[in-house]
Symmetry: C2
């Protein structure tokens, strides 16, 4: 099954385009777990158990596991295994290298960790993307326009009309969206576009295919607007705008009731996403 089919099926089953970010920070765990050596895995499993019927995907962030040291990879592996099979896992690792190195990263993610999709950084061009897209059944989310202030430094630079294939006006991120279309031979590319740029989200949705998913971080903690993001990021059927929430769900509460509170937060997001997606249709 292709990634786009798997995430669409999960989204339909759970009536949800909510992706929960699994970014467990040992410093932010509930107090009763902090002294437990298996704390992060227990925390993740509790969050997954509490929210699995409310999401279309989970997105573990590799950095949070790597920072655990030698055991980090095992915790990540066990976290991925704890996700029900029908729900895709997007490994957020933003790698960007070429050739044999990119092939090794793809193998690590898709074959060893067994995830369904990854995030990658496009600075080196398609040589750094193709080793991932060659896995036709796996998804590849390419950074396009991010929600941080310094996104202007490269992503929002205006390109000269003297370049081949550059239409007017075109910034690096418009060009990146066009490249994604061109690289998409296996129909498994998606884009990462921050929620803090709703107008740009619409521009990007207008450049790409209707069935290309957009992974949208930046709602909540980073200030992006949910209704606008869905209106501008989803396709003509109100689909394929994947709203990622991490802190807003997993750190909804720091007491022993954290999982229950995470469920309430996830449910709130899921219902709002469903409502706003319905409006779009």
């Amino acid at each position: 099954m292709r990634f786009s089919e798997k995430i669409s099926a999960a989204a339909q089953t759970n009536n949800s385009w909510l992706c929960v970010g699994l970014d467990p920070d040992i410093g932010k765990l509930p107090d009763h777990l902090k002294s437990d050596p298996g704390a992060i895995l227990k925390f993740n499993k509790a969050i997954i158990d509490a929210t699995a019927d409310l999401v279309c995907a989970y997105k573990p962030n590799s950095a949070f596991y790597e920072s655990l040291g030698r055991d980090g990879w095992s915790v990540l592996f066990e976290t991925i295994k704890a996700v029900p099979d029908y729900i895709p896992v997007i490994l957020d690792f933003k790698r960007g290298d070429i050739g044999n190195t990119a092939a090794m990263y793809a193998k690590s993610a898709y074959e060893i960790l067994g995830v369904d999709a990854v995030t990658v950084s496009p600075y080196m061009g398609n040589d750094s993307i193709k080793p991932f897209t060659d896995y036709a059944d796996k998804g590849v989310f390419v950074l396009c326009l991010t929600s941080n202030p310094s996104a202007v430094e490269i992503q929002k630079q205006l390109l000269s009309k003297e370049n081949d294939d550059i239409s007017d006006p075109s910034m690096v991120y418009h060009h990146m969206a066009g490249l994604a279309l061109k690289w998409n031979r296996n129909k498994n590319i998606g884009l990462v576009v921050g929620a803090t740029s709703p107008d740009e989200l619409k521009e990007i949705r207008d450049i790409i295919d209707d069935d290309m998913p957009i992974l949208i971080p930046g709602i909540g903690a980073q200030g992006g607007d949910l209704e606008q993001s869905i209106a501008n990021g989803s396709n003509s059927n109100g689909q394929m705008a994947i709203i990622n929430i991490a802190r807003g769900v997993i750190y909804a509460d720091y007491s022993e009731r954290f999982a229950e509170k995470a469920r309430e937060a996830a449910q709130n997001y899921q219902q709002n996403i469903a409502k706003f997606s319905g409006k779009k249709r």
Copy 2:
């Protein structure tokens, strides 16, 4: 001690600007090691023992360790520990993320693995670089112009003169070199520039400070010219052009004499680098 001081001291001690890439591929190990579960660590230690007086740095490539699965992080950790203290270790992991995530990657590399420098990808701007440069004693090599064919797709796009701070003519990689200067508050940034672009290497060296190191992959297997790369990439003293060789050293031979042959290959590079650096001075 700052990274630039540490690498300069190692370069002076060993009369070498050669960096050996530790990219161990289990499929390419000598036959007598292939059936050994600790093969990769043994291989790396043998390579380090055989070459430590010929290099200014080692550069393990994270992908090759991650692809080993759960044990990969331990092998990487032990490999880093096996490098003599006076020789800096550059972790090639090309991460590119922001905020808390970038801080976690920096912590993993600098505090947990204990490396002296990393490679990072700049697509998200300084928000993705600053969490690394904030470690003032550590080095940060930012991708600028890479040697792969699809580098043209983003790095060689011509920027419009309507952008602020863009001089004429300017491609994304020229702009990136300028950004590196601007971001370099702690004087710990270096650039990654592929050896297959000697003219562009000179352009970049002319943009940046004399004491900014350039990490130069792409000699040998990828076809870059050593003399040209040193002439164009080093500073006015014939310094700070770090020539990375991986396959040309570590896979010089596949027999039981692999370490001895790796030493011969490294010595050959070290002597040529010293000769060409001397010409430049």
